[in-house]
C-alpha cells in the first residue's frame, strides 16, 4: 500500500469516528431513559464534580430500585466539562445531538452553566441547574431553564440578615474570584449591603489560579473591615485563609458565599484549609442535620459509599435528579416540550432538599442557612429556628489561637 493510500485511509477512519460514536450512542437501549449530566469531574472544580457524581449515584440507585420511570430504567450520561465553559458547551452537543438525552442536569460552576443556558434554550431541551448560584444564569428569560438552588441574591440577603442580628457590623470588604460565580456574588452583595446601609470599604477581584494572595489580603487589611465576604472556590479558599494568617488579617467576621467555604473538604487538613477554616461563616443550602425527611438517610448512604459526609452540592445533585425523574413521570413521555411543561407544574413537597416548586422564571424558592466552622464541623448558626450552635463573635485573632 502506498503511503498516500495509507494516509487517505487514516483520514477516512478519522472522519468516520464520530459517526460510529453516534451509532452506538443514539441507538442505545430502548429499555432505558437517558438523562444527560454535565459536571466538572476533572480540573479545578473536580472536588465539587465528584460530589455531584456521588449525589447523582445515590438518587439513580433509589430510582432504579423502585423500577425507574415509565417502566424503564434511568441511565445517566455524564459529560466532564474539565471545569471549562467551552467544554461544557461541547458537552451539550454531545449529549443532545448524539446521545439524544431527554434532558440535561448541570453544569457545576456558574461560568459553565451560563455558557450552556443559551445552547440548551436554542436546542429546546430542559436544563435543571443544581449548584450554579450566579443569578445571571436565570436572567436570560429562557423557558427551558430551571434552578433548584438559591442564588447569589439570597446568599447576600441571608448573610446580611445574620450580621444585622449578630453584632450589626458597619464595614464590609468583598473578595471574589473573578469569573461569573464571584462577579455575580460581588454584584449581589454590593447591592444588598449598600441597601442595608453597610459601608463597603473594599471590593477585590482575583484570579483563582494565583499562588499568592498576600498582596491582596494586605490591601484588605489596610482598609480595616469588620466583615469580609468571600466568593471563592475550594483551592483559592484554602490558600486565602492560610495566607490571611500570614498577613495577620483579623476581621470580626469571615463570611462567604458558600462553595469553597462550604465544601466538605474545606475544614479538612489534607484537602482544605484545616485549622485555618475554623470560625469562618458560610451560607449553606443543606446540611446532613437538615430537618427535611430523608436527609439523614442520604447522609448515611453517602457516608457508606464514600467514607465522607456530604456538603450541599451533593444533595443538590441528588434533588435535581429526583425532580427530573418526577417531571418525566408526570409528563408520561420523554418529549422535550412535555417534560418542560411538566417541570413548570412540578410540586414536590417532601424531598430531602425541602420542597421543590419552580416559579414563573424557573427558580425554586429555597431557604438559605448560615453556618460556622466550629471544631472542624459546619454548625448552623442562623436562622435562629434552625440554629445548632451559637456563633463565635468576634473571630479570635490569629495570634490568640492555639
Amino acid at each position: 500500500m502506498s503511503r498516500t493510500t495509507t494516509l487517505c485511509l487514516a483520514f477516512l477512519a478519522f472522519l468516520l469516528l464520530p459517526v460510529m460514536g453516534c451509532r452506538s450512542g443514539s441507538g442505545g437501549n430502548s429499555n432505558t431513559i437517558k438523562i444527560g449530566v454535565i459536571t466538572s469531574l476533572t480540573g479545578s472544580n473536580a472536588a465539587f464534580g465528584q460530589a455531584h457524581k456521588n449525589g447523582y449515584a445515590i438518587a439513580l440507585n433509589e430510582i432504579n430500585a423502585k423500577g425507574g420511570v415509565l417502566g424503564k430504567q434511568v441511565e445517566l450520561d455524564y459529560y466532564d466539562d474539565q471545569s471549562k465553559p467551552d467544554q461544557a458547551v461541547q458537552g451539550v452537543s454531545k449529549l443532545v445531538d448524539q446521545d439524544k438525552v431527554a434532558m440535561v442536569l448541570g453544569a457545576y460552576s456558574s461560568e459553565s452553566t451560563r455558557a450552556i443556558v443559551p445552547v440548551l434554550t436554542q436546542k429546546q431541551v430542559s436544563l435543571i441547574i443544581p449548584t450554579a448560584v450566579a443569578d445571571n444564569v436565570m436572567e436570560t428569560g429562557s423557558q427551558w431553564v430551571f434552578r433548584i438552588c438559591a442564588g447569589s441574591g439570597s446568599f447576600a440577603t441571608a448573610t446580611l440578615d445574620f450580621l444585622k442580628n449578630n453584632g450589626d457590623p458597619r464595614n464590609m470588604a468583598i473578595v471574589y474570584e473573578n469569573t461569573n460565580f464571584g462577579q455575580s456574588n460581588n454584584k449581589s452583595m454590593t447591592e444588598a449591603a449598600t441597601k442595608a446601609g453597610l459601608n463597603l470599604v473594599d471590593s477585590e477581584g482575583y484570579q483563582a489560579s494565583s499562588p499568592d494572595y498576600k498582596g491582596l489580603l494586605q490591601r484588605v487589611k489596610g482598609k480595616n473591615p469588620d466583615v469580609i465576604y468571600f466568593a471563592s472556590y475550594l483551592l483559592d479558599a484554602s490558600t486565602l485563609m492560610r495566607q490571611s494568617e500570614q498577613v495577620g488579617l483579623n476581621p470580626r467576621y469571615y463570611t462567604s458565599a458558600g462553595t469553597g467555604f462550604a465544601a466538605a473538604e474545606f475544614p479538612t487538613q489534607d484537602k482544605g484549609a484545616g485549622k485555618y477554616a475554623e470560625y469562618t461563616y458560610s451560607v449553606s443550602q443543606w446540611l446532613p442535620s437538615a430537618q427535611w425527611k430523608g436527609s439523614k438517610e442520604f447522609d448515611d448512604q453517602y457516608f457508606k459509599n464514600t467514607g465522607t459526609h456530604p456538603a450541599y452540592h451533593a444533595m443538590e445533585a441528588y434533588a435535581v435528579l429526583l425532580t427530573a425523574v418526577a417531571a418525566i413521570n408526570n409528563a408520561k413521555s420523554t418529549d422535550a416540550t412535555a417534560i418542560r411543561d411538566s417541570l413548570r407544574n412540578i410540586n414536590l413537597t417532601d424531598t430531602p432538599f425541602g420542597p421543590v416548586k419552580f416559579d414563573a422564571k424557573g427558580q425554586n424558592a429555597h431557604p438559605v442557612l448560615v453556618t460556622q466552622v466550629q471544631n472542624g464541623q459546619y454548625k448552623v448558626v442562623w436562622p435562629q429556628s434552625a440554629a445548632e450552635a451559637k456563633p463565635v463573635i468576634p473571630t479570635p485573632a490569629w495570634s490568640e489561637r492555639p
Binding site: G43, N178, Y206, K214, Q218, R219, G222, K271, G274, Y276
Partner: protein, 292 residues
C-alpha cells in the same frame, strides 16, 4: 507607619516569589542566549518538574525539598535528549521552526501528563506550610517560601558560577558570541548546546519542584510561568542570565506591590505593560545587552 510596614512586607514577599521567577528566567535566558531558541516548552518543563516532585512525594514520601533535585536531574537528561533528538536536526533553518517544535513539544507534554495524572488540581500538605517566621510584630514570612528562596538563591549562584567560570560556561559563551567561529577553536557546539539546553530545562524543573509546596499542581500550571519567563528574558537583556535573575526579582516585587496598591487582578497586566514598554523603548533590556 502601617503604610511603611505593609510596603516592606509586600516587597519581601515579592523578593521571595521573585527568586523562583529568577530561577525560571535564568533557564530560559541560558537557552535563548546560547542557542537563540525561544523555548515555548519552558512552562511545560516547569510543570514536569512539579509532577516529578509530586510523584516522589506520593510514593516514597520524599520531602519536596529533596525531591526537587531529582526533578532537576530528570529535566536535565530530558532537556539534553530533547535538544539532541528534536531540536538539533532542525537547527540552522528558520527560528520559526524552533518555536513550532518547542510549542508542539509543550502541548504533547501537557496532554501527556493530563492522560497520566488527569486534569485534577493537586495540593500537597507538609507541616512546614503552617510555619511563619515573624520579624517584629508587623513583618512575617511564610517558612516554605523562605526555604524555597534560599534554595533558589543557591541554585542561581551555582548556575551563574557554571556559566561564568567553568570550561563549559566559557564554551557556551563563545557559542553565544559567534556560533560559527566557536567550532574553529575546538568547541563541540552540539554537545555544549545540548548541555546548555539541559541545564536550562533543569532550572525550570527545580523551580517547579520548589513551587510545589506553596502552589497547586495541574497540567497547565506552566503556562503562566512561561509568559513570565518571556518577560524576564526581555527585561534582562535578551539572553543575559544575570539580567534575567534581576528581572525575576523585579517582576516579583512589582507584582506584589501592584496587588497591594491596585489589586491582584492588575498584577499580570502590569507584567505585560512592562514587557511592551521595555520592548519598545529599551529593546536591549533594562540593563543593556550582555548575552549569557
Amino acid at each position: 507607619m502601617h503604610f511603611a510596614y505593609s510596603a516592606l512586607q509586600a516587597i519581601l514577599n515579592g523578593i521571595l516569589t521573585g527568586s523562583l521567577y529568577a530561577l525560571i528566567g535564568m533557564g530560559m535566558a541560558l537557552i535563548f542566549g546560547v542557542m537563540r531558541i525561544v523555548n515555548f516548552a519552558h512552562g511545560a518543563f516547569l510543570m514536569l518538574g512539579m509532577y516529578v516532585t509530586y510523584a516522589l512525594f506520593l510514593r516514597p514520601g520524599l520531602n519536596p525539598y529533596i525531591a526537587f533535585l531529582v526533578a532537576g536531574l530528570f529535566l536535565f537528561i530530558f532537556g539534553y535528549l530533547v535538544y539532541m533528538g528534536l531540536l538539533r536536526p532542525i537547527r540552522g533553518h528558520t527560528d520559526f521552526m524552533d518555536i513550532l517544535m518547542t510549542m508542539g513539544l509543550s502541548l504533547i507534554l501537557i496532554d501527556g501528563v493530563q492522560l497520566i495524572f488527569g486534569a485534577d488540581y493537586h495540593q500537597i500538605n507538609i507541616p512546614l506550610l503552617s510555619k511563619n517566621i515573624h520579624f517584629g510584630p508587623q513583618i512575617s514570612l511564610n517558612a516554605p517560601w523562605l526555604v524555597s528562596f534560599v534554595i533558589a538563591l543557591v541554585c542561581a549562584l551555582l548556575l551563574y558560577y557554571v556559566v561564568m567560570h567553568t570550561m563549559f560556561g566559557r564554551a557556551a559563551r563563545a557559542i553565544a558570541q559567534n556560533r560559527y567561529s566557536a567550532p574553529l577553536v575546538g568547541i563541540n557546539v552540539n554537545r555544549v548546546q545540548g548541555i546548555a539546553f539541559g541545564i536550562g530545562a533543569a532550572a525550570a524543573g527545580m523551580a517547579g519542584g520548589l513551587l510545589l509546596p506553596v502552589f497547586y499542581l495541574y497540567p497547565e500550571v506552566g503556562n503562566q510561568f512561561k509568559l513570565k519567563s518571556f518577560v524576564m528574558v526581555v527585561l534582562g537583556g535578551m539572553g543575559s542570565i544575570q539580567g534575567a535573575a534581576v528581572a525575576g526579582i523585579v517582576l516579583g516585587v512589582v507584582e506584589s506591590l501592584t496587588s497591594l496598591y491596585w489589586g491582584n487582578e492588575w498584577a499580570l497586566a502590569v507584567d505585560f505593560v512592562i514587557f511592551i514598554l521595555v520592548l519598545s523603548f529599551r529593546p536591549n533590556g533594562l540593563f543593556g545587552s550582555q548575552r549569557v
